[in-house]
Symmetry: C2
Amino acid sequence: MNAHYTKLMAHSRETIALSQVSELLGWDQETMMPQGAAAQRSEWMGAMEATLHARQTDPRIGEWLSALDASTELDATAKANLRLIRRSYTRNTKVSADLAVELARVTSISQGIWAQARANDDFAAFAPTLKQVLKLRREEAAALSNGGDLYDALLDDYEPGMTGAGLETLLGSLRGGLVELRDRIRGSSVSVPDLSHEFSDELQMKLANELAASFGYDYNTGRLDKAVHPFSSGSGTDTRITTRVDLANPFNCIYSTIHETGHSCYEQGINPDYLMTPIGRGVSMGVHESQSRIYENQLGRSRAFCGYLYGRMRDTFGDFGVADESSFYALVNKVGQGYIRTEADEVQYNLHILMRFDLERALISGALEVDDLEADWNERFKADFGFAVDKPSNGVLQDVHWSVGLFGYFPTYSLGNIYAGGLNEAMRAANPTLDAELAVGDTRSATRWLRENVQRFGGLYEPVDVIERATGAPVSGQPLLNYLNAKFSDIYKL
Amino acid sequence: MNAHYTKLMAHSRETIALSQVSELLGWDQETMMPQGAAAQRSEWMGAMEATLHARQTDPRIGEWLSALDASTELDATAKANLRLIRRSYTRNTKVSADLAVELARVTSISQGIWAQARANDDFAAFAPTLKQVLKLRREEAAALSNGGDLYDALLDDYEPGMTGAGLETLLGSLRGGLVELRDRIRGSSVSVPDLSHEFSDELQMKLANELAASFGYDYNTGRLDKAVHPFSSGSGTDTRITTRVDLANPFNCIYSTIHETGHSCYEQGINPDYLMTPIGRGVSMGVHESQSRIYENQLGRSRAFCGYLYGRMRDTFGDFGVADESSFYALVNKVGQGYIRTEADEVQYNLHILMRFDLERALISGALEVDDLEADWNERFKADFGFAVDKPSNGVLQDVHWSVGLFGYFPTYSLGNIYAGGLNEAMRAANPTLDAELAVGDTRSATRWLRENVQRFGGLYEPVDVIERATGAPVSGQPLLNYLNAKFSDIYKL
């Protein structure tokens, strides 16, 4: 192998190891850290960040990359690693250290200001800080964009190769169909009663552990713990998931677990030869979300799997007041009327994202001022959801993302759903008897298909290429719309 | 404050943060890490080690130190920090990178070879590796010693200021008294029956948590988990302890917990102004062990506290077959006849250490060859313990220390016991009613005395100075011998 490539990869490998250490610190902070250790922990994170930043902008990377020109003979794996290293080195060196430090400083403060403003339902108290964050992120985007579109420059960090214009077409294609489907559901005579039973913490966690395993999660290289906000963390042979327990609503624990299992199974499913190299991770936020969503929704919330889950819940909790599999299926997929994205059903979830995407893109382009954001949010919400926002904590202040500067991140949630729609269609075409397997809780052929067609590639291909190779078709919102229409027409007898 | 000092301390602070991260990785590895993550974890540890080594040998440290000469005006805290930074920089830069790498390589392999040899009871299989480790550590000692004593150079890493000759006098002064006391106990007509009851895991852990808290352990900056070998980890506002559970012997869990609580309370008790600075840690292995031992033995195994503990055990486990407080006290302090250091009672424990100290000092000086080590061990064991070693796993192969190159570490265990003896004498002189408090489980005035007189100083003074300031007397083995004689004469009616 080329000597420059060998040096570059050795340097990269140590950087990857350190970034994985940093990620473990994040996991520990949310699960194990004593409460009183927060200030000390933030010094640890800062020290790791400084170490990583120095390594990631090491001029030797530039020299090695220059030495590896187009004439260098490399295999596909090496080329993919080079592509990722080149992209991240270019990004890291384009942003000045001063700007990076200022961004880190401001976003670490602004999260607290956002939380306070949300608690007081006072957008005006958050607006000055949001302006500051936005200004810095626009500066960063300008440094990254080479005169191109600012939003595209930010998006590229989460979903390489995707553009704002491409997303506008793709996400925009969902809006009409989703609003129409939601309206038809609201007009339905089918009503789905809520649960009224208490589900013990211990039994919920027992079932959650069992479900993660049943979806192929490997506890030899993972573990499940509780956290305030469920997340998955890690890669390679150390991928950990978390969930939470709500005694009145076991679906919170169950579907958070299956969702995070999807994320971690993606990491566990990557070709082990890629471990500790740039391509040894999920390729983008969107593809990652496609895995968590397909495990959670297209598999976990399918009629077939719900039949199995209903039985396991009866075994675990006894009679919990739901009469049969059909009522259980309807309950798990109930379409409600709420303000909050994270609590939204499969139909309305993407409407939340579409709105955030359009608003944040307008903020970054300068077409929308922060001072007008609350009014625009409320107007758009009324248009898409059919009722008015009652207070900022249920509206523009509900999500943490913008406070920490995450512009360009929201659309990857819907992109994941769109990818999942296409993958589900292809997976079911490849295995017409899948539902019979899911009905007895057997996800093996589904997860094997996802592993073979998506997960194992890690970062070998660009995100869209991964999906299109798996589905054999261009990415489109239609499979997701078809799936939602069929599913909810059935449940709500439309 | 002097500008060079400020730069030096900023650099040191970030290094300390990174070393604390590395320590957390060690904790996680023993408590939380999925089994399959071992190889990946060793890459993380290596990457952290390389980062730390580069920082610790950064030539700028030498420049800052040179700029801070004797004429610089600094307060006592700054002087103490400088003393520790200077010592560690000098040590780190004296050993060549090649030797450090080779030592890390050999000791990481040799632990496995030792474990295998122990499993096979075959010292000859370990001897070649031990020779290699010894050779490298002798080379390291030569690099560190400036022509002085090799053993002293190694010892200095664990117990700064202490010498082999000083230890020979101090530890040697114990031997006669300990052997004599042990012989008298063997001649006693008092016999102490063992437990025959099963103690549930859950209740042992409940009691362990309660006991740690009762000794002043602050869960706001700590936590208790299970591990194969109990240890304490961390400093400042994140200090964690572990224990283990043996269903037949709850004293394993209880006294491991109290022991580790002593270590962690030392860290928690350090002046918070010292956090993230060189003096913000326990000053030496010996002083650390004095805290764990005084919590475990002079407090936790005292007649008064055992009376309280007996009641708590009856409350927790019901009748477990011990009739009264007096029998319980005798059981907790039973002097047995065994081969294994870690299972030894208070009387014989130090005989184990004295033997290892003499043997390892002879190995380092060259007076003893590895090929003669097993024979010398067995001969010395017979002389001090009165019976013969039956197999290497009960003899020369029982401890992991030498396999990983820890020469100079063993004596700090006994030094800790000697320090604890002196501290116990001073603490009881300052508070004649201490036993009345311990009898109701109240350790507050004892732990306050230790915090005020030992713990809060961190690394401000040299180890011996910390102890002598607290006791008001030169360090001596006599208080420990007096304590042991009085205690065991009482229990065994000598």
